[in-house]
């Protein structure tokens, strides 16, 4: 029987390699060894994704490889999800989407996955989401937060319109806003009235948790 460390390392490597079959094997091992499913996700799969993210940032990995890794991660997630302890790490519902005019959704999908791995209830509106749709969905599902991303400088300003809609309808500060995407900086996030900004998916989970705790 493999040790816990071996299993976590195995999960991480399978995700890095984008090897779905091996990832499945290690996920099953984690379940059989009663390893905490959340730990398997965060210390195993998520570490692998982080490595891929770093490689991508450094220009050492390309989008197809990231997608393979994401596949491996989603597969293990599906297996581990039923074993996640009921106690959510960051309870809450977030409405997510790529802002109107922009179709780049890989980043958003990775953040979504990370949030789901942390048992956050994610309502995904997909890409090219009209600004009114965010606020309407928030009301419909009584969400705690909105997560928006954009890869285009011409579109990111629409985030301010979404925040304005929340303010106009009295939904802020109750509904928290977090933003991300390649051209987005912390300063930009602050200036449009967002409550949180994360440079990557792992950080996004922490930011969400912080916002939900009201810290």
């Amino acid at each position: 029987m493999a040790t816990k460390e071996e299993i976590l390392a195995g999960l991480a490597k399978a995700v890095i390699d984008g090897d779905v079959d091996t990832a499945k094997k290690w996920a099953q091992a984690a379940i059989d060894s009663n390893i905490d499913a959340f730990e398997a996700l965060t210390k195993g799969c998520q570490q692998g994704m982080k490595v891929m993210g770093d490689r991508y940032s450094a220009g050492e990995a390309y989008i197809p490889e990231i997608m393979l890794s994401a596949d491996a991660m989603y597969t293990t997630m599906d297996m581990l999800r039923p074993h996640l302890k009921a106690k959510a790490v960051a309870p809450g519902t977030i409405v997510m989407g790529v802002i109107e005019g922009d179709v780049h959704d890989i980043g958003k999908n990775i953040v979504k996955m990370m949030l789901e791995a942390s048992s956050v209830n994610v309502v995904d509106l997909g890409r090219d989401v009209p600004i009114a749709a965010f606020v309407d969905k928030v009301k419909e599902v009584n969400a705690n937060a909105i997560g928006m991303s954009s890869l285009m400088t011409t579109c990111m300003f629409k985030m301010k319109d979404v925040v304005d809609m929340l303010v106009e309808q009295g939904l802020k500060p109750k509904v928290k806003v977090m933003v991300g995407g390649a051209p987005i900086s912390e300063e930009f996030a602050k200036s449009v009235g967002a409550d949180g900004y994360a440079p990557d998916a792992a950080e996004a989970v922490k930011v969400f948790e912080k916002l939900m705790r009201g810290a």
Partner: protein, 653 residues
């Protein structure tokens, strides 16, 4: 030329006549505030001050009034029946409204119409004109006025204005639009502001009519001004459209009067009134205001008003003994024995006979209540014209088992008026306040002192100490919270605990002192009796200026007429255009957009200030740009304020 400033407070309406050239106080006067009809107390104080000054009516060039009438009306839930037309709101519950009941806002009926705009000022959906026509037709016979509030109307008021025009074509009832009273986002707050404004217009209208009638009878043709919650003035024409802006006008007048009388730019103003002590701060010559809007009776509005803290400690605070036998002052307000004895001439007899210094009487609100036989008997017993002691009430209703419970419930709901011993009574005994019945005050004070086993003199000292302690503590808390931020409420209570120890000197041999950096100016009749001690506790200077007892009336007169308009210039990235809101004025360059905004801002503010009665108008422009590194200009918020002295040209007859 001379000006008359009048301020109606909780108990008294003060009036002052000043020379408008050198701001010399010529005469001052005081009359009881008349809650049944505010104009009576106002006219009475006006007559007194005119008589005292010997100034002929044609020499009066300005009359200015600070009144709590609007505030009281809103708190008491009075006002006209309003039809509310909401535009473009899909979820009514978000603006505190349930379409079936419409009980959450004080409106008679609500119609939700398709339409409204987006954050970019572009129409979100075309206005359902047929729906508007139908709603107006339906409401017309049932309402006294209309409030209209549309989504993003501050970015584009077109739909609100269309509805307003449509209503104006069918009737002459007042129509208030959200964007007219507020320039910032938040449809809930704008709707509340518009509804409350529409509701109290008839109430302010009646007051103005009566005061104007009285002025005319006395041969005064000077303009009549009302003080706004931020201390600025507006004439009757504008006050009738923006009645809501008179909320908080009392505290505004007192802080402006205090600042003026102290001739200081950094000062804490304390106005010790009958019901409350109002504390406000002036920094660098600017009165601290609540920019997000005043909250009144639980309603969050968008009315800009002075940031004043009201401590439930004043001349008419109840002096009482708690269950543990400790002497307490406030926060409950009671009618002082010295004044109650004038309204109820048998009161002294009752004090002597019952050995009690506390009596109850039904408040006006209670006399109107309709209830079961039991409640009606209860009301009948307390509302006989004579006050009764609680024991007397229990005796008369001895067959009612729940009388204690009933009393408590009605008392907590504010239906019971109380008469009792107050600091005002103690001031009467000391000869500091000569308006009421000194004997009744003395009888009450001696009875209460006897219960505690002390002399009336000792009672006076102890009550004073408690008052000074409370005011000092509140002031330290306020000053502290003004600069400090706490990560949690436990930290905050810990700090307040320390301040309490410091103020009460309860640290054993350890002596810690607080120092307030600005002097305290005392306003209100009893200011000289408390403020010097409060200042001493805080190692600062007390300023008790001459005429402090009419400080709020002075503040009502010396304000300027002002009007502010707000604009937003936003860069739209997709097109690289600069768009000016409200409206949607599109420019390809920033500078022409700014020029256009300033020109429009000055025109709008100038016209509004002139209409509100300003002369010699000057402008102040506040511009806040948002620039982000690497991205450059994002948007600019521009406020244009037009300010001027009140024009002394005679009002329209």
């Amino acid at each position: 030329m001379f000006g008359v400033g009048i301020s109606s407070g909780g108990s008294f309406t003060d009036a002052v006549i000043m020379d408008l050239k050198d701001w010399r106080v010529i005469a001052k006067a005081k009359s009881p505030t008349t809650y049944q009809d505010f104009s009576l107390g106002i006219i009475s104080s006006l007559d007194k001050v005119l008589l005292a000054s010997q100034i002929p009516a044609d020499q009066v060039g300005l009359v200015s009034l600070a009144t709590t009438l609007a505030t009281n009306a809103i708190i008491e839930g009075r006002g006209g029946r309003i039809g509310l037309i909401l535009i473009g709101i899909k979820h009514l519950e978000l603006v505190g409204l349930k379409p079936e009941t419409a009980r959450d806002l004080p409106v008679h009926s609500v119609a939700s119409i398709v339409g409204g705009h987006g954050p970019d000022g572009i129409e979100a959906a075309p206005l359902d004109v047929g729906g508007v026509r139908e709603a107006v037709k339906h409401m017309l016979g049932e309402v006294d006025g209309f409030a209209v509030s549309g989504l993003f109307s501050v970015r584009n008021p077109e739909h609100e204005l269309t509805v307003k025009r449509m209503i104006a074509q069918t009737c002459s009832k007042p129509v208030v639009c959200g964007h007219e009273l507020a320039g910032s986002l938040g449809i809930y707050e704008r709707t509340v502001t518009a509804v409350l404004n529409a509701r109290i217009i008839p109430i302010i209208e009646r007051l103005m009519k009566e005061v104007k009638g009285a002025l005319a009878q006395r041969g005064i043709s000077a303009p009549l001004m009302l003080v706004r919650g931020d201390g600025a003035l507006m004439n009757e024409a504008v006050a009738l459209e923006r009645a809501i802006e008179t909320i908080q006008s009392g505290p505004a007048a007192s802080v402006i009067g205090g600042k003026f009388l102290a001739s200081k730019d950094d000062v804490v103003v304390m106005d010790i009134g009958s019901t409350t002590t109002i504390i406000s701060t002036v920094k660098a010559g600017t009165v601290k205001t609540d920019e997000s809007g005043a909250t009144i009776s639980g309603w969050k509005t968008r009315v800009r008003a002075v940031d004043a803290d009201a401590l439930g400690n004043g001349g008419d605070s109840r002096i009482w003994i708690d269950d543990a036998g400790r002497l307490k002052v406030g926060p409950r307000r009671v009618m002082p024995l010295a004044f109650a004895s004038i309204d109820f001439p048998t009161l002294k007899e009752k004090i002597a006979k019952s050995g009690s210094w506390e009596f109850i009487n039904a408040s006006k609100a209670m006399r109107k209540v309709d209830g079961s036989e039991l409640i009606n008997r209860f009301i009948g017993t307390v509302s006989r014209l004579e006050p009764i002691t609680l024991d007397g009430l229990k005796n008369e209703l001895s067959d009612v088992p729940v009388v204690d419970h009933l009393f408590k419930t009605l008392d907590e709901a504010g239906f019971i008026a109380r008469i009792g011993l107050t600091p005002t009574d103690l001031m009467h005994i000391k000869g500091l306040f000569p308006l009421g019945d000194i004997e009744a005050a003395r009888m009450g004070a001696e009875l209460l002192a006897k219960t505690l086993g002390i002399t009336a003199e000792e009672l006076f000292d102890r009550v004073w100490k408690i008052m000074v302690h409370k005011i000092t503590l509140r002031l330290t808390e306020l000053q502290n919270s003004g600069g400090a931020s706490y990560s949690n409420s436990a930290d905050q209570s810990a700090v307040i605990g320390v301040l309490e120890s410091v103020v009460s000197g309860a640290l054993g041999d350890l002596k810690i002192s607080c120092t307030l950096n600005s002097p305290i100016v005392g306003i209100g009749a009893p200011a000289h009796l408390f403020i010097p001690q409060v200042a001493k506790e805080l190692n600062t200077e007390a300023i008790i200026p001459p005429n402090h007892e009419v400080g709020a009336a002075i503040g009502a007169l010396i304000g300027n007429v002002a009007s502010t308009s707000e604009f937003l210039i936003k860069k739209e990235m997709a097109t690289s255009n600069f768009v000016v809101f409200p409206g949607r004025h599109v420019f390809t360059e920033l500078e022409p957009a700014v020029e256009f905004t300033l020109k429009m801002g000055k025109e709008v503010s100038f016209a509004q200030a002139k209409r509100a009665g300003a002369a010699e108008i000057e402008f102040r422009v506040e511009r806040k740009d948002k620039v982000v590194p690497n991205l450059g200009f994002m948007w600019s918020e521009i406020k244009v304020t037009a300010t001027g002295r009140p024009s002394l040209e005679g009002r329209e007859k």
